[in-house]
């Protein structure tokens, strides 16, 4: 199980990398942590002429807070993100999703950008980004494009990234201090890709009024999706989790394949949304109490 022969490039700077990418186009693949690409290379499922290793471009490994968003460089490793105080404070949903991503050893190397670029429908980081309403910053030699995460993911392994572009950064809207977040997931084993996952963010204007609400679902459709929950805004949170979970289950069009039937995915959607909404609500209540 050895990869095909390829040319290996290790640009030190972003512009070098973009230059290479412009030159090689779709004959090149971008290698960051290699947690997904590595296995696919070894299995010879991915057979590039060139591999562009961006893991040493320091500009891609930053975390910063800019106005209303937290910007994470595409090369930031999952374990760095997991131990980042900024992320814990400003993007709690991501912080909650990260422990579900792979294992200690793979998080040490796997990157946020790599996971987003690969666009596995079950992956946690893309789900968190979609749920947050985050943005993918794409850069090519010709310029920059910023695409909302909800548009970025097109299908399983398919995104709007063009071959000459690379993901440079991800923008995560900062969480409101009184928001409650939750992430729930069902996987066959610990660290496996989710069969289904749900992410929820909620804010209460008053104890009985939902002001902000996001429900994201991963692993169920061929890309992570945010459910349209506008009809629940302004309502009282009382019975919301149960109703919302029914609603979410009815609004997804689940994949149906050997790894899980559509019926099972729908059933999990219901369970997970209910769990996520309930725990996000109770955190939101706590936060409100704390801030008052």
């Amino acid at each position: 199980m050895k990869p095909v022969a390829f040319d290996y490039y290790r640009p030190q700077t972003l512009s070098e990398a973009l230059e290479l990418l412009a030159d090689k186009g779709d004959e090149a693949v971008i290698l960051a942590g290699g947690m997904t690409l590595g296995p696919m290379l070894n299995l010879r499922i991915v057979r590039p002429r060139a591999v562009i290793d961006i893991s040493r471009i320091e500009a891609l490994q930053t975390i910063s807070v800019t106005g209303s968003v937290v910007v994470t460089g595409a090369g930031l490793t999952q374990s760095e993100a997991l131990s980042s105080e900024i992320i814990a404070r400003e993007v709690p949903l991501l912080a909650m999703a990260l422990p579900w991503v792979g294992h200690f050893q793979t998080r040490n190397r796997g990157t946020l950008g790599g996971s987003v670029a690969h666009a596995d429908p079950s992956a946690e980081i893309p789900l968190a980004l979609v749920a947050c309403g985050g943005t993918v910053v794409l850069q090519s030699r010709w310029g920059q494009r910023r695409i909302g995460a909800r548009q970025f993911f097109v299908g399983a392994l398919v995104t709007q990234r063009r071959p000459d572009e690379m993901i440079m950064a991800l923008e995560w809207p900062r969480s409101a201090p009184d928001a409650g977040h939750a992430f729930s997931e069902i996987a066959q084993r610990h660290g496996d890709f989710a069969i289904a996952a749900a992410a929820c963010t909620v804010r209460l204007a008053k104890p009985d009024r939902v002001e902000q609400l996001v429900v994201g679902i991963g692993g169920v459709e061929d890309r992570p999706v945010a459910i349209d929950v506008s009809s629940f805004l302004g309502q009282a949170p009382g019975e919301m989790a149960a109703k919302l979970s029914e609603y979410a289950a009815a609004s997804v069009s689940p994949m149906d394949d050997r790894s899980a039937s559509a019926a099972y995915r729908t059933a999990l959607t219901k369970v997970l949304v209910e769990r996520a909404v309930n725990s996000a609500l109770s955190i939101a209540r706590l936060q409100r109490g704390r801030l008052q």
Partner: protein
């Protein structure tokens, strides 16, 4: 007392001695097969394997591969045919098994050609340059359909996929069933799985002209009964196939027995290529094509009196051998045969066995070998009967146990159970599990609407196999014509060198079980030394080790038989030392004791000499030795346990030397909403006779349990109904990790075995045989249904818990519990609709226009018309980073002018192959538009199927959607394309899968 000799006061056997093996393993000094470069000039091999389940090989062209720099040789089955014959087995049907495909390939992963190159990297590159042409034949993938009349035949010369049938009857089963108050029957299927070791197979093969000999280094584990078979296949006498095992081996659990066919193959390839070669199997090869447990279909019936006395058992077994019978198969079906009564005293048993071949990897040894399958039948029916009779399952078992005073107990089919106290073990189990409390908690949980269940499983654990048991496959008449087989030789060497240091040599091929430590404990006790003073060599070398056909590591034979050889051999050395010391000390040998590193006159601590000194005399002063002893100190002992006769004419056989006992209890709670199983409690009580090293015993129990748990919950080597292999990586074949394996309670009952001097019974399979049954019993109890099949993964349990149709068909994994309405169980299916901005006639015309077709097929770089409505195309498909160029054939059929047509496609490329068909219908819509609806079914084989199951459906849907989307785009009148709007429209209308 002189310096340097530690005070030794305890008896080492039975102590939790730390392992001799550990330090080297912990510091990376241990050497495994791939760490060895035993000879210079090694080349590296890679194997091209069949991507198809069943093909006739039309042509293999190795020319391009040969041209690649670094490639030494490319060798096909036809090339080695002059050097090898088939590997023989006891099944007499004509289905020759070669280690490489000759004219047909019969399972995905069967070797087609071997490339020898200067690096593995180059060898793999070259594999991709071998041009093959196959005639794809219909496959047989399912045990049920394999035996149907019109099933494709895998081995033409046999004429059927049923390669043998045998029936057995012990006592009077008909009478028992006729007289029974109650009869319970249960049909089941069990999937195939494998206790995959973390180290894969490895072979280093060298052929020398002078001396004319094959030398092979391999992490083979035995049984060495197959060494003569390998030599036979290589057409050389035994001594010309020298087999050497490395110092360390990374687990096996039976699986590494199957490396035997690669030993033959690579030996022959080395000879052909004229260079020594190393081949290390990779994980994908291992999962696809190494070996597996035998999947089974079975029915078991049990006759009971109304008081719960088990009076009769009837087993019907259909066992999958895979595509060939690889020796020592069909042993998996016969290992438990002689103990078909389990741990019960039932006398009347009938057994019908049927061996079947399918287009799948040949099966072989796997932890518990035959036990998990057997106990799934017996222990499930016990639980079902308990419920039917309204007797507590623990109590029902207790009433039927072989009674404590009845040992040695002769079982109806011939096994002799050496020692046991099953009732005591049951009581211990119920105590450590807190059975009464568990039952209360179950009642409480049920009152609260929760699904809580308890399951038991009990059984004997045969150890130290009689080499003759597999000949039960033959009738008594056939056996009489064949050469007699029996027994189970074990051997060991204990030598003391001129400096007085003790070395033990074993032929037991350990793969992590601590044989060196236990052998040192035994020898240390016998010679009055410290285990640290005993050096143990576990590498085997068939030219220098005192091996025999039963040598190797399988069937728990180490503690059952090998230890006896070690003890005997050590005693021979001890006796010699006593004689030497007696001469030196002016005493008689009887007066000498070996203790604390000294040979001393008993009771006189000042009359002694150091062990080393006594021993060295045998080397340094042969002229001065007493008459009774010869020079040197190199003792070998070979033993065979007395009970292991050949099968008698009634098909009874003492199949093993010792019969340990294992009884397990599982309590589970199931989340009906998700299918998640929480193991609330797992307890296991073992009787392994005398525990030689409690730490090692404990380790084996934990490990065996983890294997059983994996088999129960996660593990399945899955095929689809076209014989495509679906679980080719560790992300598809799921082994339990530390999070999934719970803490368990372990208890022991010790009834020493009379079969050897130490009282030990073999052990190690243990819970791997019973855990699948115990957990299934608990899940069945929790859910109140018995039609439960393995593995009990989330989706499956969820389906069982929610009353979905759950047939016991185990393969394919998921299709049996798909929602109703799915006609094509195994295919990737989908459908969609799209509105085209053109009238129907225009759409129709474009659909039939090759240039339009070429422009709409994603990634199509060329399209040529072969004949009317038939095209060939080159298509580059890229999904994310996964891209490949495929040769595709497209055909239009069933044309219904202006309203519908069928598109058939086939594609083959480096990542695999696929085929599909789609129905396209057109309907006029207002405004000169056309509504196009499509539905398709497709299937994918080869590498993508083996590693990409989780994603294939979505990717297929995307690609097919892309075709219609670009068709739509090309028909749009608008000059400027609004990419997003058509995409959004597609998402709204095009729904893949079924609604």
């Amino acid at each position: 007392m002189p310096d340097g000799i530690e005070t030794i006061s305890k008896r080492w056997i039975g102590a939790a001695v730390g392992r001799k093996e550990d330090e080297a393993l912990l510091t990376g000094q241990a050497r495994f097969i791939d760490d060895l470069y035993p000879i210079p000039g090694l080349c590296f091999a890679a194997i091209l394997r069949s991507p198809h389940a069943h093909v006739r090989i039309r042509r293999i062209d190795v020319e391009r591969a040969h041209q690649l720099p670094g490639v030494r040789q490319v060798i096909t089955g036809k090339d080695v045919l002059e050097l090898i014959g088939p590997l023989p087995s006891v099944v007499k049907a004509p289905l020759p098994y070669y280690p490489i495909a000759i004219d047909k390939a019969r399972y995905v992963g069967e070797p087609i050609a071997v490339v020898v190159a200067d690096t593995r990297y180059n060898a793999e590159d070259a594999c991709e340059l071998i041009d093959t042409e196959y005639e794809v034949l219909p496959p047989v993938t399912d045990l049920r359909s394999a035996t149907e009349r019109d099933a494709p035949v895998i081995h033409e010369a046999v004429g059927s996929n049923v390669i043998s049938r045998r029936s057995f009857s012990y006592g009077n089963p008909e009478g028992a069933f006729a007289a029974a108050d109650r009869v319970f029957e249960f049909s089941y299927s069990l999937p195939r799985y494998a206790s995959t070791p973390i180290e894969t197979f490895g072979v280093i093969a060298q052929f020398e002209r002078a001396p004319d000999r094959y030398t092979v280094w391999s992490n083979f584990q035995g049984p060495f009964v197959v060494q003569p078979l390998m030599a036979n296949a290589l057409r050389v006498p035994g001594h010309r196939l020298r087999l050497i095992t490395p110092p360390s081996s990374g687990g096996s659990f039976g699986i590494k027995q199957a490396v035997l066919s690669y030993i033959v193959l690579l030996a022959a390839v080395s000879r052909k290529a004229g260079v020594p070669i190393k081949w290390i199997e990779d994980r994908a090869e291992h999962l696809t094509a190494a070996s597996a447990s035998s999947d089974r279909l079975g029915t078991v019936a049990a006759a009971f009196t109304k008081d719960g006395e088990l009076t009769g058992l009837r087993f019907r077994n259909t066992a999958n051998m895979g595509a060939y019978v690889r020796p020592p198969e069909p042993a998996s079906l016969y290992r438990m045969h002689a103990a078909s009564n389990g741990c019960y005293r039932v006398k009347n048993i009938s057994i019908d066995n049927e061996l079947v071949v399918t287009n799948s990897t040949p099966v072989g040894l796997n932890r518990g070998y035959g036990g998990p399958q057997f106990y799934f039948a017996l222990e499930r029916i016990m639980e079902i009967a308990a419920r039917g009779l309204d007797i507590d399952p623990a109590e029902l078992r207790r009433r039927n146990f072989v009674p404590t005073g009845a040992f040695p107990y002769k079982a109806p089919a011939g096994a002799v159970f050496d020692a046991g106290d099953y009732e005591a073990a049951l009581s211990e189990l119920l105590r450590i599990a807190g059975y009464e409390e568990l039952k209360e908690r179950r009642a409480a949980a049920r009152r609260a609407g929760r699904a809580f269940g308890i399951g038991l499983a009990a059984g004997v654990e045969p150890s130290g196999s009689n080499m003759a048991y597999v000949s039960l496959e033959q009738t008594p008449q056939e056996r009489r014509r064949a050469d007699r087989k029996s027994g189970a030789n074990a051997s060991a060497v204990v030598a003391v060198d001129p400096s007085g240091q003790v070395t033990v040599r074993l032929c037991s091929c350990p793969n992590g079980q601590g044989h060196a430590t236990v052998a040192a404990q035994i020898v240390a006790d016998t010679l009055g030394l410290h285990p640290d003073d005993i050096h143990v060599v576990t590498e085997m070398d068939t030219l220098t080790s005192p091996w025999s056909i039963a040598s190797g590591n399988y069937s728990n034979r180490f503690a059952a038989i090998v230890v006896e050889a070690v003890a005997k051999c050590a005693e021979q050395v001890a006796q010699k030392i006593r004689l030497l010391a007696a001469a030196a000390l002016d005493a008689t040998a009887d007066e000498i004791e070996l203790h604390e590193g000294y040979a001393r006159v008993r009771g006189q601590s000042n009359r002694g000499l150091p062990f080393r000194k006594a021993a060295s005399r045998a080397h340094w002063d042969p002229a001065g030795l007493p008459d009774a002893i010869g020079p040197g100190l190199h003792e070998c002992a070979i033993i065979s346990p007395p009970v292991l006769d050949p099968p008698d004419d009634e098909d009874r056989i003492a199949s093993a030397v010792t019969f340990g006992f294992v009884i397990d209890l599982a309590a589970v709670e199931i989340d009906r909403n998700t299918g998640a199983i929480r193991i609330d409690k797992y307890a296991s009580v073992h009787d392994v006779g005398t525990q030689l090293n409690p730490k090692i015993v404990e380790g084996q129990v934990h490990g065996g349990f983890a294997h059983g748990l994996g088999a129960a919950l996660f593990e399945e080597l899955a095929y689809d109904d076209q014989g495509n292999f679906l679980t080719g990586t560790f992300a598809d074949y799921l082994c339990p990790t530390a999070v999934e394996v719970p803490q368990i309670e372990i208890g022991h009952v010790e009834t020493p075995s009379p079969a050897n001097a130490l009282g030990a019974k073999g052990m190690g399979d243990g819970s791997s045989m019973l855990t699948p049954a115990a957990i299934t019993n608990a899940v069945a109890d929790a859910l109140g249904r018995d039609d439960i099949s393995l593995p009990l993964n989330l989706q499956r349990v969820w389906a069982f818990a929610n009353g979905h149709d759950a047939t016991t068909k185990s393969r394919p994994a998921i299709s049996s519990i798909r929602p109703a309405g799915r006609a094509v169980g195994e295919m990737l299916t989908g459908s969609g609709k799209i509105t085209l901005f053109a009238p129907v006639q225009e759409v129709w015309r474009r659909l039939l226009d090759p240039s339009e077709l070429a422009a709409s097929i994603p990634g199509c770089s060329s399209l040529t018309q072969d004949e009317i409505d038939r095209y060939s195309a080159r298509v580059t498909i890229g999904i994310g980073a996964i891209r490949g160029t495929y040769h595709a054939q497209i055909e239009l059929r069933d044309k219904n002018e202006g309203s519908s047509l069928r598109l058939l496609g086939k594609a083959i490329g480096p990542l695999g192959f696929g085929s599909g068909s789609g129905l396209v219908t057109l309907q006029p819509e207002t405004g000169d538009r056309t509504r196009l609806e499509y539905s398709y079914e497709a299937e994918v084989g080869g590498k993508l199927a083996a590693v990409g199951q989780r994603m294939l459906g979505s990717v297929m849907r995307y690609l097919i959607g892309q075709f219609f989307r670009s068709l739509e785009r090309r028909m749009r009148p608008a000059a400027r394309l609004d990419w997003r709007s058509w995409w959004l429209r597609f998402r709204r209308h095009g729904s893949g899968g079924e609604a």
